[in-house]
């Protein structure tokens, strides 16, 4: 911090308020900030699109775009420094921190805080496979991302393993012993194994590891239902449960009391050095430095019935079957084949009918022993030949397993248990290696199948999440509460909507007519990895409820009927896109780029030091730049040669205009001006659209007083925005140009436009943000605006309730008519989010708005891209 203090002193002559550069230079910087800002948003969207799986990209792409975006953000901050004439140290520090994290990721060093020796399962996910091993990283996904039931617990990390081994001099000891031993000498090798295991079992666990374990133990005990919970202590080594299963190589210790965890921990670690496990590693080319053992400690399930499930039965792939093995009591009975079990073979397609079942004669079962450990008990006579799973249990199990398979896009081997209350728990899941018996014939099937299947549509819209899904179509109506959405169906909807988060777990796939790949729904679809294509334009027209289709969201094709070969092909590929290095890298970098944490400029946390991502910085810089521009125009009127003019207007816009070049016919020194004196083409058109359409007066639907009041209280109680800030709006204009910043109530609009005679120079950039009501209403409003703008040829992006619309290179007349539309929109949407109580309102408002704006926008042959609503849609809207 000394360096920074020094810098502060050096730059202290820089007063943040006294401009020492001509206004025109500052304004140029402002425009440059806007341009960079747009470019950064575009790059972010571009990176997001690449995660969908439709694109082929390589590491070079990730490197290039990361460099590009970092560069732009740096220049953005520099522009702000010039504009505000401050050094913005905090902003640069935030930038350097983010940039450094990104560089570390790109260099292959994972940028995350040093992991603790023990962490709760709640904190785990698939990205932490090095910290907690694959098994528990997967459990993290299953528990936290997919939300499937797992037992509470914690993981003792690989860091703890290294600390333990080092503290006891074991890493060095193993290295020297291994170098000295003759691997072919079985007796010597076994003696070495024994020696290492003995040392581990006698080893001292470092104090910081013990206290970390105890802290986690306390948390889990505190949440447990029983006073003295028992734990299952299980291995989760590097490489285990990956392409190498290591199945049965390492030890699990069941039914361990809290005070027995240290001992069980040592036993599990020691099991990595049995002759069998060690040989297994050596055979597969694992180096000793690649050996690290995390250990998971989970509450025991007092299992009534447990077992394993394969999402692809060990039958020919064409059979499309899955298989469950189950027995009474604890899992090892089935998994280790210690006792007879039941076998159920099911259809992979919902409703997962039972194709066959074989009941074993189950004489004994494994149970938890009261004194710790496990014991065998006799199964009561009437249960010995009874199938141990009901149809309902089978159904729940099948749905959970298929959900896990869909997530990993690999067949799964799932271990599970039901307790006596009928709760299902997923104990673990590992990829199941399924390879077609005859790869060549299999390939022959695939192209024949995909080439002979009837294509319903292809190449339409944007892939949000890749994958293949077959199922029955369910077309969601506008006001659908989705309570009847059938498990395993493919959702087809007009728009993307956050409300579909409700069916993410049930749906096999999603198709929408309209929508963006960057919205809330898209994020969720990626999280759950539901194959999803948005913006197809045609899905609801082509498909109807009950149609059987296959969605190939990799090639972006929708086929008629079920094309099983496609999903088999997908699931047996050598690498899953989501598991590829490039995908994971891009995803990790996007975490440093994309999420927006600084949402509300009025909140305490809207500070440079709180910027955690490039998006935050971009948002912050933009806000500060606008503030500065308003400040300059109001407080330093003498400083620039243009006298800001207050616009006299029937509509209370509170607008101050700075004319930089022939934008008005008012006298240069005049302090106010009339609408008639405006010469600026874009501004004139915008105001016309606003006043002549009569949109301002519109109160489309009675306002509900609750949200109206909350809008007032929020505005005026906010510490940073006093009432004097409200209605302080600014426009900079010339005869062809307008840059408008408009805050009306809680809506914030930016309009930047150039309209001249040269077609190629013409553009409109429109940005709309904010609102009073809940997210769902705001996003309905966003969809309304998007729909209207798309109708007028704008390229529209919706990010939550932020809407960005762009239009370029159209004739002057067309540009003018579109500015009128935007003027109308600004008026119309003032309170619109409050009235957006249901989805069908969107359509009603679109129709209403189009009707009113029509008169104003008639330009020769200029017919908007779509004349919404088309008759068919109008029916469905007004129904």
């Amino acid at each position: 911090m000394n360096v920074i203090d020094g810098l502060r002193k050096v730059f202290s002559f820089w007063s943040p308020t006294k401009p020492s550069l001509p206004f025109s230079v500052l304004f140029k910087k402002f425009r440059s900030i806007l341009e960079r800002n747009n470019r950064i948003l575009e790059l972010m969207a571009d990176m997001g699109d690449k995660l969908g799986g439709e694109y082929v990209f390589d590491r070079q792409y990730v490197l290039d775009i990361s460099e590009n975006i970092g560069d732009l953000v740096f220049k953005l901050i520099s522009d702000l420094c010039v504009m505000t004439q401050t050094e913005n140290v905090d902003l640069f520090i935030s930038f350097e921190r983010i940039q450094n994290d990104i560089q570390e990721e790109l260099a292959g060093r994972r940028a995350f805080p040093m992991i603790r020796p023990a962490v709760l399962l709640d904190e785990l996910n698939g990205d932490l496979n090095e910290e907690v091993g694959n098994k528990f990283a997967n459990i993290g996904d299953i528990r936290n991302t997919l939300g499937l039931p797992t037992m509470d617990g914690f993981a003792i990390t690989t860091r703890a393993f290294f600390d333990f081994m080092k503290a006891n001099g074991l890493l060095k000891h193993i290295e020297t012993s291994l170098a000295a031993v003759d691997l072919k000498d079985e007796t010597a090798f076994e003696a070495m194994c024994d020696d290492v295991r003995t040392r581990i079992l006698k080893g001292t666990i470092p104090r910081h590891v013990v206290s970390s374990i105890n802290a986690m133990l306390d948390v889990v005990k505190g949440r447990a239902e029983v006073r003295y919970p028992r734990f299952a202590v299980r291995s989760s080594a590097w490489g285990e449960d990956s392409e190498f299963s290591f199945a049965g190589q390492y030890e699990s210790v069941l039914n361990v009391p809290g005070n027995g965890i240290a001992e069980a921990y040592r036993r599990v670690i020691a099991s990595a050095y049995t002759p069998e496990a060690w040989r297994y590693r050596l055979h597969r080319g694992f180096r000793e430095s690649e050996m690290a053992m995390a250990v998971g400690c989970q509450l025991m399930v007092d299992a009534e019935v447990s077992g394993a499930m394969y999402t692809y039965a060990p039958l020919p792939l064409e059979k499309e079957a899955m298989m469950i093995s189950a027995a009474w009591g604890l899992g090892p009975a089935v998994v280790s084949g210690l006792a007879e079990s039941d076998t159920f073979v099911l259809d992979r397609m919902p409703p997962h009918n039972i194709l066959s079942n074989e009941s074993g004669h189950k004489v004994s079962k494994m149970v938890m022993d009261l004194n710790g450990g496990t014991a065998w008990r006799e199964v009561p006579g009437h249960l010995q030949d009874k199938p141990c799973l009901s149809d309902e249990y089978i159904q729940r199990l099948a749905q959970a397993a298929i959900m896990i398979e869909r997530y990993y896009r690999r067949p799964q081997d799932v271990e599970w248990a039901f307790d006596s209350k009928g709760n299902l728990y997923i104990l673990q899941s590992r990829p199941l290696n399924v390879r077609p018996n005859q790869p060549d014939r299999h390939r022959l099937y695939i192209d024949h199948a995909s080439l002979s299947a009837q294509v319903l549509f292809s190449g339409k819209g944007t892939v949000v999440q890749g994958g293949v899904a077959s199922g029955k179509v369910y077309v969601a109506r506008a006001d659908d509460d989705l309570n009847d959405f059938p498990y395993g169906a493919i959702l087809v909807a007009r728009y993307t909507s956050p409300k579909y988060s409700k069916i993410m777990r049930k749906a096999r796939g999603i198709l929408t007519d309209i929508g963006s790949a960057t919205g809330h729904m898209a994020t969720l679809a990626r999280e759950y990895r539901v194959p999803t294509v948005v913006d197809t334009g045609v899905a609801t027209k082509v498909l109807k409820t009950g149609d059987e289709v296959t969605l190939d969201a990799i090639q972006n094709v929708v086929y008629e009927g079920t094309v099983n070969e496609l999903s088999q092909f997908e699931i047996t590929q050598e690498e899953v896109f989501e598991e590829s290095y490039e995908y994971r890298l891009l995803k990790r970098i996007l975490k440093k780029v994309n999420p927006l944490n600084l949402v509300d400029p009025h909140s305490e946390s809207f500070k440079a030091a709180r910027c955690l991502t490039f998006h935050d910085i971009t948002r912050f810089v933009h806000e500060k730049a606008v503030e500065r521009l308003i400040d300059l125009s109001e407080n330093y009127q003498n400083y620039h040669d243009r006298t800001p003019k207050r616009l006299d207007c029937d509509i209370p816009l509170g607008l101050v205009i700075i004319d930089i070049d022939k934008g008005t016919s008012a006298l240069p020194e005049a302090r106010s001006m009339t609408v008639e004196q405006i010469e600026s083409a874009p501004m004139k058109a915008m105001l016309q659209g606003l006043s002549e359409s009569g949109m301002w007066e519109t109160t489309p639907v009675a306002v509900d007083m609750g949200s109206m009041m909350s809008s007032f209280t929020r505005t005026f109680s906010s510490s940073l925005a006093g009432p004097e800030d409200v209605g302080r709006n600014l426009a900079v204009i010339s005869n062809n140009y307008m840059n408008l910043h408009l805050r009306l109530g809680y809506h914030f609009t930016i309009l930047d436009a150039y309209i001249g005679d040269e077609l190629n120079d013409n553009y409109i950039y429109f940005r709309f943000l904010g609102g009073v009501s809940d997210l769902q209403r705001r996003s309905r409003r966003a969809r309304f605006i998007a729909e209207v703008m798309e109708c007028y040829d704008f390229r529209v992006e919706v990010h939550g309730d932020l809407i960005v619309g762009r239009l370029k290179k159209m004739s002057r007349d067309r540009m003018v008519s579109r500015m009128k539309v935007l003027g109308g929109l600004i008026g119309y949407t003032r309170q619109l989010d409050i009235s957006m109580i249901s989805d069908e309102r969107i359509g009603q408002h679109v129709a209403e708005f189009m009707h009113r704006i029509d008169v104003l926008t008639e330009v020769g042959d200029d017919v908007p891209m779509c004349r919404l609503p088309a008759t068919k849609d109008a029916d469905s809207y007004t129904r």
Partner: protein
Amino acid sequence: MTSQCAGCQQQKTQILILDDEPIVCKRLRPAFQKAGYEVETFTDSASAMARIEEKKFDIIITDLKMKGVDGMHFLERIKEIAPDTGVIVITGFATSETAGESFRKGAFDFVAKPFKLNDIIDTVRRLEGNRKR
């Protein structure tokens, strides 16, 4: 199903893909297989170079900038051995010069990375259409 397709193995268009980024090969191979092509992929230019001496491919998709033999030389060699092989160049460093040079050397088309799977398949189909004419 199989009886209909008997013999399609012989009629299939043979594609060789060369890109030193394994991810590109991994993604392209299944996509083309699904679209009905016979595909071989290579991540080092030396082996790809050796392969084209042994076997005639209908279509070759190659990166430009790679370690070892670069794509431009590879393109030249293909055209020497089998002038009627269609070549599609894929690259992340698209400049008008490199594009111009690859067209002069006989490339059918130039596709900038990153690209959509559908786009590259369409390009291959256009190329096939051209060859049949």
